[in-house]
Symmetry: C2
Subunit: 202 residues, 2 copies
DNA sequence: ACGGAGTCTGAACAGTGTCAAGATATGGTG
DNA sequence: CACCATATCTTGACACTGTTCAGACTCCGT
């Protein structure tokens, strides 16, 4: 990837892409700032100018991941039933782990991120809010005694756990389709379960 | 931690403890083999003799974590109801994340582990089998149409996700008691949900 | 008492992240 | 169009990392 001009053109984007790709193949432990610079055909010190340090670069990747996740959530059809919407959000979540494994690998690695980063703070919490809204809708109209905050975190944890287990090869899933099948049923279990919690008047 | 004798005595254990402590405070990214050696008062090359390399040391910590997890699972009262047993296992899982955060931080980081390690292979799968048995018991006697493998992985993912989110400070929980409260209800939701899945004859 | 086996050290090597200072190109202003 | 401030990238250096290998040290069984 040698370049003709002294200036790269869009180094920032090239570095983020290279980082995501490297994270997807080698994992966060195998990541190296110098290797990323090498793949972008640029000197080892160049990335620091755009992102400050490694943490900044990783944070940029994570932020891009949250942008995609939010977009995938927003693309879910509004006309679906609350049950279907919950399932669709779960599928969107783990699908991101399939289509953007490099991003997913660092989105919740707070030890690698700068959680005070402006762009990150502006993007990341939105994903949780979207899940929360879907759970609220799923509980609406039922006499369930489930704590909404608890139900939301439970759903979130289930999605997150599935994506994480899949990514770490710990779940020994045959293929991507099996993961989709798995998350669909897991979200149904969550939906049925949260609505079956005995109500306060019970 | 300077020592008088040339031989340390129980360096293997000291290194594992120091690693777990360092992982708990700095996280896997802040971990350094040389720092561990320093804390044990030993030369930088000493750990390699016992564990081969960093991967071996991390794997030993993860294996110890699985041993504790299995022990915690086995300590759950046999006389409890299937529902209560499921909740107790969930609590045991996240409790490990509280009491042994350093171990938990690497137990599922397959990019850091040597998954072919003998001791690891002999220990890690047992935890999944125990969860699987509890889920089987929870489904027994019901006409639920839930796929047992799916239900097991769903429960596992929920526990794992909760522990992970808690550990990464992403869940913004007030304290450990809130996490326990959370996992108890999450397991109840899972229990109720998996039994509420429409049966095959429905 | 002695020799082998197990433990640990010391030095070295390649590779890493980060920083300051300098080289190079770009775009706006006269 | 000429020019210079500014953004962009390079170079060289530093401290630190994991790993290897030869060697020094100490324990244990004979």
């Amino acid at each position: 990837m040698a370049r003709a001009t002294y200036h790269h053109g869009d180094l920032r984007r090239a570095l983020i892409s290279a980082t995501a790709q490297l994270l997807a193949t080698k994992g966060p432990s195998g990541f190296s700032l110098r290797e990323v610079a090498r793949q972008a055909g640029v000197s080892p010190a160049a990335p620091s100018h755009h992102f400050g340090n490694t943490q900044g670069l990783i944070t940029a990747v994570a932020t891009e991941g949250f942008e995609r996740l939010n977009a995938a959530f927003d693309a879910v059809d509004d006309d679906l039933s609350p049950h279907e919407r919950l399932v669709a959000h779960g599928v969107a979540y783990v699908d991101l782990g399939i289509s953007a494994p490099g991003h997913m690998a660092v989105m919740f690695r707070h030890d690698l991120l700068d959680t005070d980063d402006e762009a990150y703070v502006a993007t990341a919490p939105g994903a949780f809010r979207r899940i929360s809204a879907v759970v609220d809708a799923a509980l609406a109209g039922s006499d369930s005694g489930a704590d909404r905050a608890v139900a939301t975190r439970s759903v979130w944890a289930t999605c997150h756990g599935l994506a994480h287990l899949y990514q770490s090869k710990a779940a020994s899933l045959a293929d991507d389709a099996e993961l989709t099948y798995l998350v669909e049923h897991a979200m149904s279990i969550a939906y049925l379960g949260m609505r079956a919690v005995p109500g306060r008047q019970a």
